[in-house]
Symmetry: C2
Subunit: 340 residues, 2 copies
Amino acid sequence: MVEERKLAVLRAIVEDYVSTQEPVGSKSLVERHQLGVSPATVRNDMAALEEEGFITQPHTSAGRIPTDKGYRLFVDRLSQVKPLTAAERRAIASLLEGAIDLDDVVQRSVRLLAQLTRQVAIVQYPTLSRSTVRHLEVVPLGHARMLLVLILSTGRVEQRVVELPSEPDEERTADLRTRLNRTVVGERLVDACARLVVLPEEFEPGDRGPVAVLVAALVEAMSDHRSDERVAVGGTANLARFGDGFDTAIRPMLEALEEHVVLLKLLGEATSPSTVTVRIGHEGPYEELAATSVVATGYGPGDEALATLGIVGPTRMDYPGTMAAVRAVARYVSRILDEG
Amino acid sequence: MVEERKLAVLRAIVEDYVSTQEPVGSKSLVERHQLGVSPATVRNDMAALEEEGFITQPHTSAGRIPTDKGYRLFVDRLSQVKPLTAAERRAIASLLEGAIDLDDVVQRSVRLLAQLTRQVAIVQYPTLSRSTVRHLEVVPLGHARMLLVLILSTGRVEQRVVELPSEPDEERTADLRTRLNRTVVGERLVDACARLVVLPEEFEPGDRGPVAVLVAALVEAMSDHRSDERVAVGGTANLARFGDGFDTAIRPMLEALEEHVVLLKLLGEATSPSTVTVRIGHEGPYEELAATSVVATGYGPGDEALATLGIVGPTRMDYPGTMAAVRAVARYVSRILDEG
DNA sequence: CATTGGCACTCGGATTCATTGAGTGCCAGA
DNA sequence: TCTGGCACTCAATGAATCCGAGTGCCAATG
């Protein structure tokens, strides 16, 4: 028995099963692929593959389907990168070029990814932790209320309204604006936070109270939004194509899609845009989603992974194609962030 | 034949069908309700109701199910307002009290509505057209770029970055800020737009260019966001409970949920918070959603309908309970907007 | 005249049973 | 090591049957 052919058989099984969604038998295998051997030989290989846990039969007298372990081997060693078509590349470029701001980029990406892969797409909004503060504006609203507007290098704008113990006069406000900006502009969020918390000490004792209130709101805006990271979801209609295990598989999926925390955990740690992470079935963190796989990667300017994007779909999916699409979108988005 | 009893029969049919999800026959009807007549009599009534188009049989020798027309009659004349339980009232109050800003109110409402009705909930973000301008801030970002921050009476904040032909000096900026605020503060968005477009004429001919650029951005921010109204969606996992017509009904639903324009059309015109609109099956604007009903109502401060919220579910739903929940949430949200 | 009990009739859904065929494992032979 | 042959398994398919909930109609009744 040739080891190499055994792997070829596994590859053929995965490919056939993904495209037909039906258990594949030895006969149809030799018909559809040039394996150069008889069905009986393939059967021997299949028996061995099953022994090793790469494939399994749903019931005796049926063809084989890949196990999670089988998909894993396929993804790691058997699949070739499937280049996108020119049309697809153009579609990506033209759709993303038109974006007007950061949020728009994210929303377009999610739609794009869903269309390309025909799966449910998830795009995390860029994390703020790595970005820097571009400007901080303090706007008095009257009645001792202040609007804080935080503008970040990624283009994101955060705002908070805070209530002060008393209405500060115009001069104090201007002074505050200057000093706050001097403290945070150009700094990374983490550093900005660190410098902010000690800022009140530089003020007159009488002014420390109000300043502390402002600082607290700012620190909250910065760190709060770092943990409570937002995600965009698209292509949920593709769930309807899930196939057989409909209500068993779709229910937990719909629930997961409502919980952004769950989605973030699904996407996992942001990796470099050139590395695509594939998590197959049980490898994921949720037992209820054992029938789904995640294909994800990081993205961000300058090859630095600011956030994660990816897709979720049935374990039985076209991994090479999906991985290519995910990687391509991540690269394009990264490039756009580079320019912005 | 007593006309009144016929209606009682229809009511009983609707109630039973909604709770059991199965066609209801004459015998089980008299068992479960105190109609005081025999099955044979009920059969006569049912024949009449079918003749008039209020009920139908899926196939001969089966029980009856209500038609859209039957549900309509039920909703209009037969259903009683089902008061919420004390626990539900408390849940609404406590969940909504904790909201920190407008967006948070909307997001909490959508979750609340989904939980109460166990349907897919949709809440439109309050329309800006009726709200007034509270403050307008102009922040120079350097490199001839300006940040415009628009704060509205509803608490919503819109921002735009505009690029000017040249960097204005500090004095000009301050002057601009003052004059812009004098023009728009306190005005409704529509009026603010109207006054803005003629504003450049008040400036020196040389300054009109930059001012016009700013005005254009502001007008865009105001009117743009009026048409491109946003909606929040929640409780999609409830789609999994849709029942039988799963993939026929769920597919178009998932697609609709991705298209906010479609959702807005589904919700329809905002009505007064005290009026709950019910659109049953074919009464809605989309043929593909003929198996779904919409229960919606307007909400907003001071009984003025700023936006719409509601739920979408199968025609076979608990209308009285759903209507009560929708109305209750709309009232609570309106009250909160009143205070804000 | 509305109501009721009786009765024949319908027909979808469940049950059973036989058939089919794709697919397997195993073995002897090339 | 591969192959053809062969007996075996078992899900899926379809025909035949049964069951019963539910109906419509009618004659009898208060």
